[in-house]
């Protein structure tokens, strides 16, 4: 038998995904579409946040659609269609994150037409979606007040990458032990320049601020359209 040989590689493990994400980024840039990758633990309120976001942005004339990543079921896509935007469900069949190839295939299937904003609702998981570039303009991490305020330090990868952290279910703050200041301090440590927005889909708290953040980014993206 031959002798063992060594091969130096030195490439990103997710190089194939990165290449697919670059292709997506070019596609989104040419279309002038702002792409928002929403990442959180299951049940943090990603779909609910979109349900209250969509009517406000539609009133401004923005064209939106959503790609919904879930391990199983069409439920979230149905909720967003009911909220009035086209939505395509990517059922990952057990995989705990979306990758750029799944997004590309989903977009081809969905054929949304021209968009100002594409929301990508990732599979509920604070770990695996962190590493997968989907060609998005921004990653948004959601943190609900029914979770622990130590989530940012427990899952530093996503909170260090997310340009925006949205706290959800803030109307429950009087009823839960969640320490808002501590959570914010942890996020600031990991991402000093990140936006921090405290929201409640029930009371509407912070929703205008969140929508204004998106609108500013849509305008910036439109201005750079090639």
């Amino acid at each position: 038998m031959s002798q063992a040989r060594e091969v130096d590689v030195r490439q990103p493990i997710l190089a194939a995904n990165a290449a697919a994400a670059d292709t997506l980024r070019e596609r989104f840039a040419a279309a002038g579409t702002l792409v928002v990758n929403l990442i959180s633990a299951p049940g943090s309120g990603k779909t609910t946040l979109l349900e209250v976001t969509v009517p406000r942005l539609r009133a401004l004339g923005l064209r939106m659609a959503a790609l919904e990543g879930d391990i199983a079921t069409e439920r979230d896509a149905e909720r967003l269609r009911a909220a009035g935007i086209p939505a395509y469900q990517i059922v990952t069949g057990g995989t705990c994150h979306l990758d750029a190839r799944l997004v590309s295939a989903g977009l081809d299937q969905a054929a949304f037409g021209p968009l100002d904003v594409l929301f990508i609702e990732n599979v509920g998981n604070l770990v695996c979606p962190t590493s997968y570039d989907l060609g998005e303009d921004l990653k948004v991490a959601l943190l609900s007040v029914t979770e622990g305020e130590d989530k940012p330090f427990k899952y530093p990868g996503i909170f260090a990458r997310a340009e925006v952290t949205v706290v959800t279910k803030a109307d429950l703050l009087p009823h839960v032990p969640f320490k808002l200041d501590e959570a914010q301090a942890q996020v600031r440590t990991l991402r000093p320049d990140g936006r921090w927005i405290v929201t409640s889909a029930t009371t509407g708290q912070g929703i205008e601020e969140w929508c204004a953040e998106l609108v500013a980014r849509v305008q910036a993206k439109g201005a750079t359209r090639g």
Partner: protein, 140 residues
């Protein structure tokens, strides 16, 4: 599991030109902010290579901690892996976070299973130059 699959796929893609081979060892760099847990990756790796020609391939993980840096005082040496300082212990300024995002395939070792004439490829350690790592994931 996805990361373990990608590691195996990348190695196997580079071995296509070498005929039947056995992967002996794979070395990767995993950063503290990569959202990959070394022990879970090892477990996933065993599941990926199980029952195939690479079943005994060892996954060697080089852990790369993130760094906390003060604009005035430089890197904070007393930072403990896995814990985060809020402010610089010397001047109490906020700190920046650098590094720790590595998720890289560094090297692998293999053994040809039959004696075949050697095929030189770009990927070969003796014939080619390594692909540069993507530096686009630098921290803010």
């Amino acid at each position: 599991m996805g990361v373990a699959l990608e590691i195996h796929r990348a190695c196997r893609a580079r071995l296509e030109a070498h005929g039947p081979t056995r992967l002996d060892r794979v070395k990767v760099a995993i950063g503290e902010l990569s959202a990959v847990e070394p022990e879970i990756l090892r477990y996933a790796w065993e599941a990926v290579v199980y029952d195939g020609p690479d079943a005994d391939a060892e996954l060697e993980i080089e852990w790369r901690p993130a760094r906390q840096v003060c604009d005035d005082c430089g890197e904070i040496e007393e930072r403990v892996d896995g814990e985060w300082l809020r402010l610089c212990p010397r001047c109490e300024l906020p700190l920046r976070v650098e590094g720790g995002r590595e998720l890289d395939l560094l090297q692998f070792a293999f053994t040809p299973l039959i004696d075949v004439p050697r095929v030189e490829t770009d990927e070969d350690d003796e014939g080619g130059s390594p692909t540069p790592l993507d530096g686009s994931e630098s921290l803010p």
